[in-house]
Amino acid sequence: MTALLSVRHLTTAFDIGGRLIPAVNDVSFDLQPGETLGLVGESGSGKSVTALSILRLVQLPGRITGGSILFRSRDLLTLSEAAMRRVRGAEISLIFQEPMTALNPVFTVGDQIAEALLVHGKATRSEARQRAVELLEAVRLPDPARRVRDYPHQLSGGMRQRVLIAIALACQPALLIADEPTTALDVTIQAEILDLLREMKARFHLSLLLITHDLGVVAETADRVAVMYAGRIVEEAPVREIFRAPKHPYTQGLLTSMPGVTPGTRLRAIEGTVPDLSALPRGCAFGPRCPDHFELCDTAPPPLYDVGADHCARCYLHRPHEGDR
């Protein structure tokens, strides 16, 4: 099977006072048609910058400094800006965390869905109006024929996120990138939106790149998971592998620090803080916080090692022993 999206050695750096600080560092992954890849990480891990890089929406002082992004066998990084505009929204869509700010307050939701269709020449003005109602129906907004004339402030947070999903799906893209799509929502609304994303994925044959910090959301939604730390992917595996047999100490730490094992006991926290990207250690970026840290970790950033079928981890604990090869 050919991957729908194939990111290779992507590096996106920010020019801070004349120094190039990589926020995304040599990131590679594939996304197959119909697959959901969960990109997990904390703030500053580079997961959102990865999403923006795929759509070439990184703003100065940030810029993509290396790598390739193959989408349907074209390298998005070599397309002209005009060609890239035809990709955005039509072939690859993006939905954000903040359903409160992502919609334009002075246009009706119908206008905003129609705009997506008109920009890409997918419908005439009168067709667009009809399509808007159908899309609102598809995302299960109650009373779509009336709601299409509503302004964003008349909708709740969950309804706005449904509208954003409708806009994202208007041109029937092949890939939907969802950056923390449920983080700002209440848990019952989050559950509805996750159900909706799953349903839309099946109905529109979408691939989904789901960016989140919430391992519960990942477990419910993703087929495969890539864990990011300080700009790099540190572990990648099918979702069951990540939860059943995590190999990187950071992934293990994230899983064991969650509440829920024995109430009232101390949580097994990861000590220390997320490193400053402008002052990364010479070796493994997780080294200073790692419970399994040893001499080799301070020498150079570890490469990704294969640790099982379709499972790799960026950790010296998993280096092949001498004589194995």
Partner: protein
């Protein structure tokens, strides 16, 4: 609902807060009950969880207890005295014993004050100790919450989110309070930092015999640290009981719906979502004791 024998540290009775709302200049005023007849008790040294979604009234309840928002009616008994009957001066003195920690460590600390000044300020306001005694106390508090005393002179922006939350906690602890109202104290923090702050809260409770009112939307966290918990929906408590019972044998359909919506960090978990239904709340039923100590509006 008090435990048998001794008096609870905090006893909230029939707390109600109404806001006047006007949907347009010529529309008549409408009354919105943000908190509606809320009652619960917290024993000394206990952690009581108040959970609910946005708009459920959990934050307003916390603020009404401290009278940061004046409640419309009800009683708040703290160490056997009704806080709502206090004069301004009595309230100022009582606030020493009840402190609050806010959700957002980015907006809750004054950016123009040094960490030392932020932690020292309550001591100055309540005229505690000499300058030197206050300095010593601040250094002690820094150590208590796990901050490096070398960083006393730094400004808030020079700290990470987790460290800022520790500063907020040090400030809240400065006057040796017995009750801490913690309003979503870790929800703005990164996953790997949340556990550190939760551990700190539990350690401090043991060492200082603190009582917590823990306001949160994260049910997994509440299950982990709270002895008893109340679930709020649209201003009312719909269920209240010992945490273990409430999580394993929820009685109100809303509690079941809420629990069914929590994402489980296990790809093989069986998920059966329960959608919320309006008829569960119409008419609003009074709480009744289902099993000893476990109340539900069913």
């Amino acid at each position: 609902m008090a435990s048998a024998g001794d008096v609870p540290l905090l006893d909230v009775r029939h707390l109600t807060k109404e806001f006047q709302q006007r949907h347009g200049l010529w529309q008549p005023r409408a009354v919105m009950r943000a908190v509606h007849d809320v009652s619960f008790t917290i024993d000394e040294g206990q952690t009581f969880g108040l959970v609910g979604e946005s708009g459920s009234g959990k934050t307003t309840t916390g603020r009404c207890i401290l009278r940061l928002i004046e409640p419309t009616s009800g009683e708040v008994w703290f160490r056997g005295e009704n806080v709502l009957g206090y004069s301004r001066e009595q309230l100022r003195r009582a606030r020493r014993h009840m402190q609050i920690v806010f959700q957002d460590p980015y907006s809750s600390l004054n950016p123009r004050m040094r960490a030392r000044q932020i932690v020292e300020e309550p001591l100055v306001i309540h005229k505690q100790g000499s300058r030197q005694q206050r300095r010593d106390r601040v250094a002690e508090l820094f150590g208590l919450v796990g901050l490096d005393p070398m960083h006393l002179e730094r400004y808030p922006h020079q700290f990470s989110g987790g460290q800022r939350q520790r500063i907020g906690l040090a400030r809240a602890l400065a006057l040796n309070p017995s009750l801490i109202i913690a309003d979503e104290p870790v929800s703005a923090l990164d996953v790997s930092i949340q556990a550190q702050v939760v551990n700190l809260l539990m350690d401090l409770q043991q060492r200082l015999r603190l009582t917590y009112l823990f306001i949160a939307h994260d049910l997994r966290l509440v299950e982990h640290i709270c002895a008893r918990v109340a679930v709020m929906y649209r201003g009312r408590i719909v269920e209240l009981g010992p945490t273990a019972r409430l999580f394993t044998a929820p009685q109100h359909p809303y509690t079941r719906a809420l629990l069914s919506a929590v994402p489980v960090p296990d790809p093989d978990a069986v998920r059966r979502r329960i959608p919320i239904q309006e008829e569960w709340f119409e008419p609003a039923l009074p709480l009744r004791e289902v099993t000893p100590g476990h109340w539900a509006a069913v």
